[in-house]
């Protein structure tokens, strides 16, 4: 008689198992990071929804609330029904933004990809805001209302350039 006892069933049960069609609390915490990254890069308000594929794989959608209801990004956990589990993040047009073996790994990549996609838009928005703020200065300079005050601020080449654009 062998005195070695194996616990394969117990060991399998002890491993965190992905629930078919549902996100775990830990996965949802990661998905909220994706939601945050999408909101930072989107001009309007955004919301999120969950769903699942016909194979029972869960999905998480970030959707804009504009009249066109744009899907900004969505994440899926594939392979829940058996086989290799993988996390995929795609943009609204289906282009794969990130893939990973864990939710954290995939969303790390997705967050940095979304940030780099949004960077040029942010710089442009900053320039437009700066020009809009300095527009009154440009008008005042043209009209000659600034006097001595103008001499002090005009030393800054960036301000000079921006006011030049504004005027």
């Amino acid at each position: 008689m062998s005195n070695v006892i194996s616990f394969p069933a117990l060991a399998r049960r002890a491993r965190p198992r992905a629930d078919r069609g549902r996100w775990s609390a830990a996965e949802l915490a990661e998905l909220m990071r994706l939601f945050g990254a999408c909101c930072r890069g989107y001009a309007g308000a955004a919301t999120f929804e969950t769903g699942q594929t016909e194979m029972g794989d869960p999905q998480f959608y970030v959707v804009g609330t504009g009249p066109d209801l744009p899907c900004i990004a969505f994440a899926s956990r594939i392979g829940t029904s058996g086989g290799h589990i993988r996390y995929v993040v795609q943009d609204g047009s289906g282009e794969v933004i990130a893939e990973g073996e864990t939710a954290a790994a995939a969303i790390d990549i997705a967050v940095s990809t979304l940030a780099s996609r949004n960077r040029p838009r942010r710089i442009l928005a900053y320039l437009v805001r700066s020009i809009a703020m300095l527009l009154p200065c440009g008008i005042a300079r043209e009209a000659g209302w600034l006097g001595d005050f103008w001499i002090e601020i005009a030393d800054n080449p960036l301000i000079e350039t921006l006011i030049g654009y504004a005027a």
């Binding site: 769903g51 594929t53 016909e54 794989d57 009249p67 209801l69 899907c71 969505f74 594939i78 609204g92």
Partner: protein, 99 residues
């Protein structure tokens, strides 16, 4: 300018139509005897998750996929595009096709 109430109503209507489009696409695919995975593979998509996103009423069928998608589910591309337009842009659809 549209009032916030009007805007919210328009958004709800757009959401309802998007869900209807998804249900219509799902019926077509099932009638053609295809799974989401089959359809995605035949459309050359890396993951079938995009099909699910559209059928769940979240996304839209991209215009570049309309023709092959229509062919795979046995509908003429013109009818397919026309029906999708009625869901995705009902105002334009009304202007173009309503007698």
């Amino acid at each position: 300018m549209a009032s916030p109430i009007h805007h919210a109503q328009a958004t709800e209507e757009a959401k309802r139509l998007r869900k209807e489009a998804g249900a219509w696409l799902k019926d077509l695919r099932k009638s053609a005897g295809l799974s989401q995975l089959d359809l995605a593979t035949r459309l050359g998509l890396k993951y079938y998750t995009f099909i699910s996103q559209i059928e769940n009423g979240i996304g839209r069928v991209p215009s570049n996929l309309m023709e092959p998608w229509a062919g795979l589910v046995g509908v003429t591309p013109a009818d397919f595009a026309k029906r999708l337009l009625s869901f995705y842009d009902p105002q334009t659809y009304r202007l173009l096709f309503d007698e």
